[in-house]
Amino acid sequence: MAPVKLYALSTCGHCRNTKKFLDECEISYDLVEVDLLEGQEREDILEEIKRISQQCAFPTIVIGEKVIVGFHEDRIREALGL
């Protein structure tokens, strides 16, 4: 299974729905809640998000090489091979 990384905001309902979906599918993932980060760590993560998605929106989910912005369950399922 390709590595999964989720960039989210702790206050965003769509991010929560994405987490819920991944948990229900028993997918392990690296979660980064950007609004809880500070200083250089936050800056670095924001640069990372911009580099991989050319924008800065949440949720942004990376599945292997695929980047999906927003909670699109069908596209996430497909990228996970489910």
């Binding site: 702790s10 206050t11 309902g13 729905n17 800065c56």
Partner: protein, 111 residues
């Protein structure tokens, strides 16, 4: 009544006459309202729960809920960026919700 339920009732009364209705997905709505209350505690204002705030009221002015983009987004897509508010048609199932793209100009994001 909990704080989030009070917020729900007060906003509902305020916003519906203006043509903005809460998303029928009540779990999502309560999640987003909790996000607004969290941001109010953090920053002193209800910054949009689905956008990264900059903890500066002036820089975040356009995304203080209801954000400046709600009106054009609801009229064009039937929902605001967060899908907290939807149009009457979407509420009544006459139109379907779509994922609303970010309308906010990049230069306002400042990152």
């Amino acid at each position: 009544m909990s704080q989030v339920e009070k917020l729900y009732e007060s906003l509902k009364k305020l916003q519906e006459p203006k043509g903005y209705f809460f998303n029928p997905d009540k779990d999502l709505v309560f999640d987003l309202l909790r996000g607004l209350l969290t941001n109010k505690e953090r920053y002193g204002y209800m910054s949009c729960p689905c956008r990264l705030a900059q903890a500066d009221r002036d820089k975040d002015r356009d995304i203080i809920c209801p954000c400046e983009y709600r009106e054009p987004d609801v009229s064009e897509y039937g929902a605001c960026y967060c899908a907290l508010y939807v149009s009457k048609d979407v509420l009544e199932g006459k139109a379907s919700k779509v994922q609303v793209p970010e309308r906010r100009p990049r230069e306002l994001m400042a990152f």
